[in-house]
Amino acid sequence: MIAALIFAISIMTLLQFFVSYSRSLIAEAQGHELSEQAREICGLSENGVTVGQFKRLQQLIALCPDPGGDGFEVRAIALYFRMVCLVHTVLSWAIPSAAPWIEAERGGCAYAAAVVLDRRIAYNRMLMAQQANH
C-alpha cells in the first residue's frame, strides 16, 4: 500500500520536474536570435519555426557534427516534444481549449531545436574557416 502510494506520488512529481526542466532548456534557447544563414539553410519562414519542422530539424541536427555537450539537450527536448504530442493525441478531442497551449509548447520545442542547429552550423563554419586558413 505504502509502496503504491510512493509510486503514484513519484510519478506525479517526476512529470512536474521533467516538464519544468524541459521548459528551462527551452526558455534558455528562446533568448537566442536565429541567424539569417541558419534560417536559409533550414528553410525557415519569416514567421518563425513551425511545429511541423521539428522532425526535419532533428534530422538536420543529426547530420551536423556535435561541438560537444548539446546532444543531451536535443534528446531531452525531443522526449518532451513526444510527450506533448502524446498529450495532444489524448486531449485534443476531450479538451479542445488546451490546443493553443499544446501548440505553443511544441513550437517552443521546435525553436529550441532550431537554436541547437544554428549553434552547430556556426561551429562547423568556424571549423571550416580555420581549415581554410591553414
Partner: protein, 231 residues
Amino acid sequence: MLGPVDYALLFAGFAAHVCAFVCLLKKRIITQHFTLILYLGFSIAVGIGRCSILKTAGFTSPAYLYFYYYSDALTTICLYFVLMTLYAHVFSEMGVSKHVRGGAMLLLAGTAGISYYMVAASSDRLVTHFVVELGQNLYFVGVLLTYLLWGAMVKLRENRTRLVQIVLSMGVYLSLFAGAYALGNLYPELPVWRYLYPLINLWLPVSWTYTFLKVPDDARIATARVLAPNR
C-alpha cells in the same frame, strides 16, 4: 550472469560519473559546489567497489546484493548533503542555513528509524528487506525535500539558471528512483530492474555535465517562464 548490455550500462554509468567529476573540477567550482563533487567522487568509488565485488563474488551473490543496496543508501545520503547545499544557496540571503541543515539531518534520522521500525514489525525481519525499504524511503524523502526546495525557489523568484537546472534534474532523478524502487518493492521479480537502475543512474551526471558545460555561471532565467506555458 551478466550480458553485454549489463556491462555496457555499468561502464556508461561509471564513465558518465568520471566525466562529470572531471568537468566540475575543471570548472573550478570546488568551494561553490563541494557536495556535488563529493557525491560524484563517492559514486565513482562505489562504482569501483561494485565492479570488484562483481568480479570476485558474482552478480547473484549475497555479497554483491548487500554491497549494492547499502552503497546505494550511502550515495542517497550524499545526495542529501547536495540538497542541503542547494538549500543553503537558495536561502543564503535569509541566514537560515543552520536551521535547514538541522532539519534535514533530523529528517534523515527519522527516515532511517521509521524504515527500521516498519521492517522490524514485519514477520520476516530480513536485513536485505530493510535496506530496500530504506532506499525507497530515502529517495522518497529526497523527492519531498526537492519539491519543497523548488517551491521555495519559485516563491523567492530564484533566477540563477544553473541552480534551477541542478534542482530540477535532482527532482527528476530522485522521482525516477523513488518510483522505480516502489514498483520494485511491488514486483521484485521483474527482469527490467537490472537494466532500469543503471539507466536512471546516468541521468544525474549527464545533466550536471550539460549544466556546467553549457550554462554560464551568470546566466539568469525567469522562473515564470519555466512554470507558465510558452507564448
